[in-house]
Structures are given as structure tokens and as C-alpha cells.
Amino acid sequence: MTHTQLNAYIKKVFPDESDADIALHLTEASSDFTSRTKILKGVETFDTVVNQRYYNLNDLDGNGDQRHIVEVNKVDYNNYTIQRLVTPPDEVDIT
């Protein structure tokens, strides 16, 4: 269903609701649905920076136009899958 079709469906029940308000609620609905079901899978890529250990999950490419990540399932380094540490290294380095 397109945004317009969803809008029309909702307006059968709430004909006076504005398109902008419906869009806000649809966004909230979409966030709830995809967070709880984890149904929307995808791949995000970025390059490591020398001597930088942490990379912000909200803005991996530095453009600020990325979809919110709910869960990370697997990581590749230079095309090879790497292992996950269950806990962070005990020697702390917050760079």
C-alpha cells in the first residue's frame, strides 16, 4: 500500500484528520512495527578510521540521513565476517 492508500484507509474512519498529522502517526506506527518485529533487514557500510574504536550507530556514514538501527546481527571487516565480543575489552579506550 502506498502512503496515499494508507491515508485514504485512515480517512474512512477519521475524514477530518490532516494529512500531516496522519503522516506523523504513520511514522510512529512504522517505528513501533519495525522495532518490535525486526522485519526490516538491511546492510549499512562505513570505513574504519585509523585509531578510532567506536562508530556512532545513528550516523555511520556521517550524512545524518540514515534509518535508525534496531539491532546489529552480523559484522564484516574487509569482506570477512568477524566475531562478536560478548563484553567490551576490559582495557578502556573511548576513542
Partner: protein
């Protein structure tokens, strides 16, 4: 060589960040930060783009002509959620418990689709071969 180097690396999640380190052979430290520029690929579950009431065609919005990115059989769930939410708002504004009943009705329809989608999230397009039946006449190996 590239494989060996990659295998020395590890990842974890902390404070909404992904950490990448390399195992060290040094006697003084176990892990070091990355020493080269290499591509990292994250396989993730994520939210969709925001909806926007507009006829434009932004790549990072769901405009009027666009659809959500997940399987289309679940698109109507977003309408169920929105209608439930609007009934909740109206019930709150009018202080009318009868309207709240309508909200609960639409919320239940939404929850049904959430439960259905949760059951399929890791199947991809493999079909429904997630269970099997043991036929007694086939016998059992012990």
C-alpha cells in the same frame, strides 16, 4: 592474508555505538584500535524512513506515492495503529470510555499483525518449512 588479518578483528555494541578492535600480540595490551582504513559492513534490523505528506520524491522519505519497505501484507498494520492512536486521543479529549473501546479494537488488530510478522522475521522468503512432522510408521532411531 586478508582473511587472517580480518579474523583478528572483533566487534561489540556499547552506548549505541559499534566498537571495532584488533587482537594484539603485545604483552601489555589485548586489543588495539583499527590501524587501517577498511570497509565495515553491518547486517542490521532497522526502522523505515519517515512518512511525509508530499508529492515530492525524496529518497529518504515515504512520500505520497511511496510504500513502506517491508512486506506489503503488513502495510495495513500501520493504518490499524494510526486509527487506534487517533481513537485514544479522541477518548482522552472527550473523556469518553466508549471511544476507548474502539481504540482497543483497532489496537488488537494491529497486535495480531505484529505477532504474525514476528513469526516470519527470520524466514526471509524460504517458505514455511519451520516445523516437521514425525510419522510413527516411519519408526524411530534410538
Amino acid at each position: 592474508m586478508a582473511r587472517t588479518n580480518a579474523q583478528k578483528h572483533h566487534w561489540w555494541i556499547e552506548r549505541n555505538q559499534v566498537g571495532i578492535v584488533k587482537s594484539s600480540t603485545s604483552a601489555t595490551t589485548t586489543f588495539t584500535s583499527p590501524s587501517e582504513v577498511k570497509e565495515i559492513r553491518l547486517y542490521v534490523s532497522r526502522n523505515d524512513w519517515d512518512f511525509e505528506a508530499s508529492d515530492d520524491s525524496d529518497a529518504d522519505k515515504i512520500n505520497n506515492g511511496n510504500s513502506p519497505s517491508f512486506d506489503k501484507i503488513y502495510h495495513v498494520a500501520l493504518a490499524y495503529y494510526t486509527i487506534a492512536k487517533l481513537f485514544e486521543i479522541r477518548a482522552s479529549a472527550d473523556e469518553d470510555p466508549e471511544i476507548l473501546g474502539f481504540a482497543q479494537l483497532w489496537r488488537a488488530k494491529y497486535e495480531d499483525l505484529v505477532a504474525k510478522a514476528k513469526g516470519t522475521d527470520n524466514q526471509g522468503k524460504l517458505g514455511s518449512a519451520t516445523s516437521y512432522v514425525i510419522i510413527p510408521s516411519d519408526g524411530f532411531l534410538l
